[in-house]
Symmetry: C2
Subunit: 190 residues, 2 copies
């Protein structure tokens, strides 16, 4: 997605530890016009797949998934990262390792909102090692729902999570795949 | 907002501890069509106020603020609840007491995204005792930005946070204000 790649090149900042900061337009301050275009692009890619639910994980995925759900005219469901008093006891749970935060956390969705009849598109802002995406896929499978595919805004190709999922036969569409990232270089996959 | 009130009456569930669960359409599974209407309603209310930034807090506020920002054609900024490796050190911080989770947490925004020239509309899903809203207002004030007003989707009027802010001269617009809530009754403010 050309507009996204231009934004990454113009505003993205590389930090030690393979961190790409895009917090000026994607996951802290958010360029909502870009989100709309991202939603349209995911719709273009998965338009003929019968998607009836968008699943993401809090927090940064929510805006992206919301504008994607708007295009599909279907509900958006966001997994929560810890069990709170406000969520039902009847939940699907997966454990996810966060390398950014250096800890394992639970992600949960209420069973009443993820059904065997659902055809789910999983959406997230980043796809790196694939841990969060695998957690979300796990929730879909626990529900007996159909996984249509996964959409990531930015894939860190050099971390391998996306290609690993593709090898398993899962359709993964990333709007920008970064195969090389140093202080000076940021190379997108062709 | 009539559509919202109908959704609350139809799908909202009251639990002990003054908890109103709206997780089938607002803060877990999300009715994106409703979010669009909410965004339009906030725009109608604050259209002539020169708003150039929407500020909210992760996670449930993000979708609502995103669709509101779409209407204003301005960026959305979401405060984060803890300091992560991915955020700059130069942040504004406020402490917020969460009665739902029974703890105090920090909320932060990067200083580079909240500026003295900004005219900010603060948006959140719930307004109860007003703690989260006050934290967000504190961030706006630390930045020297102009607070245009606050918009909440659902205000628990009986908890007093909204009226307390109004008494201080802050413009608070809630799309549904609940003044009474029991297992059997849910009464909206006229």
């Amino acid at each position: 997605m050309q507009l996204l790649k231009e934004k990454i090149l113009k505003y993205g900042k590389v930090f030690p530890g393979d961190i790409l900061k895009v917090d000026s337009f994607l996951n802290h301050q958010v360029d909502v016009r870009l989100l709309e275009e991202i939603g349209k692009e995911f719709f273009r890619l998965f338009a003929d797949c019968g998607v009836n639910k968008i699943l993401t994980i809090e927090a940064s995925g929510i805006g992206i998934a919301g504008f994607t759900a708007k295009e599909f005219d279907c509900p958006m469901l966001f997994a929560k990262k810890t069990q709170t008093k406000n969520i039902a006891n009847t939940v699907f749970t997966e454990k996810v390792m966060s390398y950014t935060h250096g800890k394992v956390y639970d992600i949960i969705v209420s069973k009443e909102f993820l059904l065997p009849t659902d055809r789910v598109l999983v959406i997230d802002d980043f796809l790196a090692n694939g841990e969060a995406m695998r957690g979300l896929i796990g929730l879909v499978r626990q529900a007996g729902a159909t996984l249509v595919g996964c959409g990531a805004v930015i894939e860190k190709g050099f971390q391998g999570g996306g290609d690993s999922l593709r090898k398993e036969g899962i359709r993964v569409e990333s709007l920008a795949i970064i195969d090389e990232m140093t202080d000076d270089t940021l190379a997108f996959r062709k």
